[in-house]
Symmetry: C2
Subunit: 284 residues, 2 copies
């Protein structure tokens, strides 16, 4: 196991990358906001397997949080994160502070693609602009051969894929499967916010998705009926708000009328103080 | 003289670049909209001197034209352009069509930096968004060590410099001096639109700038007085409209109250059917 290299300035990062590039080694990037869980570590493992060098960025990106969101409370267990990355065998962690990523005169941003407008884009209007801007900056700083993102944030993955295609970014984007707790709850850094009661209610997200998949497997193709049932199940389980619960085309994320081929069931709910998302790709 | 290589697809370009990169050769990029004149060729010469391989792109970028602008009439003398590039010794020309650069599903764009809002940004609100988007795409397709832009489009150069800094693009941006006709008119692909009478009136842009520089050399530091005189001189010469005629900080492009250190005099006028811009950097 080589030692984890910690870089916090863009300038140092550029020279580290140049050195590695000269050696002709391929680079994988795992962009994160820290508070690493098994989901993140599965991306690191995938990168270690697929590329010569694995870079992980830890940056709680302020531009993807709205004013009323949890930027300040977002967990930042830095020491544990570094310990986990070191144990996992990552090669380099990029750990910039906010002024390093967004100096005072930094005013350029990305206007994200069409696929950003629905669902999360409706609930969090400025979110994907912030995500696209920081991801593009990271890909310019760390011109990886492959960058790894979790399918948990399904729309984010679709948005980033489209941005990378639209702007001719050379990095290949690879989506990795959702990692779940033993009881089915999708891993999320925000799960730590859940009270014991809310943690129980939160299981309804996964159960609802499993039930949709089951009904499709049994031949149900009426997506409007399935969507109505999804919403009802979530409400019956005690979530405080359903932002959306839809069956959509996996590329455009537009609602499908009928379940044919591959679709994705996407949902977002408020559970107590926490907004949770989950999804399930379903192939007929 | 090596032969000029013509590439029109992004896919081919990526493989051409990969081959050159393996050889460890440095790359210069000169982005143009074609209709090449001595100004463009000075950028090509600068690139040939500074880098191992010179790429020129020719692409009349629709997203930087407003609906009422001259996209359709913009000159496209392709054969002469290729002849000029071949004679100049450029290595590769990238010649995509619109659908290659903007496939139907391409919806991501760049929200340009603050410095884009003034002057040209007021006269042409969507212009710099289009410029930034296409330049970023070109820099992703052709990850040049250096990209060369003319100082004739002074604000464009400032906007691109800021975008590249804000988005951590690795390419260095180099500005090159304005090339002028013997009588002082700044070279522009749009000069061909000028009638004989308008061509005469157009000389007032250069003369007005020369006069400002002269006054500053003689000790005048009151920028508001100088700006009023610029505007009056242009109107007296018969231009049909002055969009702006200002003395500004060369980085922020904000108007300066007093001429101190280095400033830039910037102007844009309508002359007959043609909108012309020109500028002059003045150091006290």
């Amino acid at each position: 196991m080589s030692e984890l290299r910690v870089v916090s300035s863009c300038r140092e990062l550029v020279s580290v990358i140049a050195d590695y590039r000269k050696q002709g080694r391929s680079i994988g990037l795992v962009p994160t906001m820290g508070a690493l869980h098994a989901g993140h570590l599965s991306l690191v493992e995938r990168s270690l397997a697929a590329t010569d060098l694995t870079f992980v960025s830890i940056f709680v990106n302020p531009t993807q949080f709205a004013a009323d969101e949890d930027l300040d409370q977002y967990p930042r267990p830095l020491e544990q994160d570094l310990e986990k990355l070191s144990r996992a065998g990552a090669d380099c962690v990029f750990l910039p502070d906010v002024s390093e990523m967004y100096p005072g005169n930094c005013t350029t941003s990305i206007e994200p693609p069409q696929v950003s407008r629905r669902w999360e884009g409706e609930s969090r209007p400025s979110h994907f602009g912030g995500v696209c801007t920081v991801v593009l900056k990271l890909l310019n700083l760390i011109p990886a051969d492959v960058a790894f993102f979790g399918e948990k944030d399904f729309q984010q993955l679709a948005v980033i894929r489209q941005m990378v295609e639209d702007l001719n970014v050379a990095t290949r984007i690879e989506g990795c499967p959702i990692v779940r707790e033993p009881d089915g709850l999708a891993m999320s850094s925000r799960n730590v916010y859940l009270s014991e009661t809310d943690r129980e209610i939160a299981l309804s997200l996964h159960r609802t998705l499993a039930s949709v998949a089951e009904q499709v497997a049994q031949g149900e193709t009426d997506s409007h009926l399935l969507m109505a049932e999804m919403r009802q199940k979530l409400i019956d389980s005690g979530v405080s708000r359903v932002d959306y619960a839809v069956i959509a085309d996996p590329t455009t994320l537009e609602v499908v009328e009928e379940v044919e081929g591959t679709v994705v069931a996407l949902l977002a709910c408020q559970v107590g103080q926490v907004r949770l998302i989950d999804n399930c790709v379903i192939a007929r």
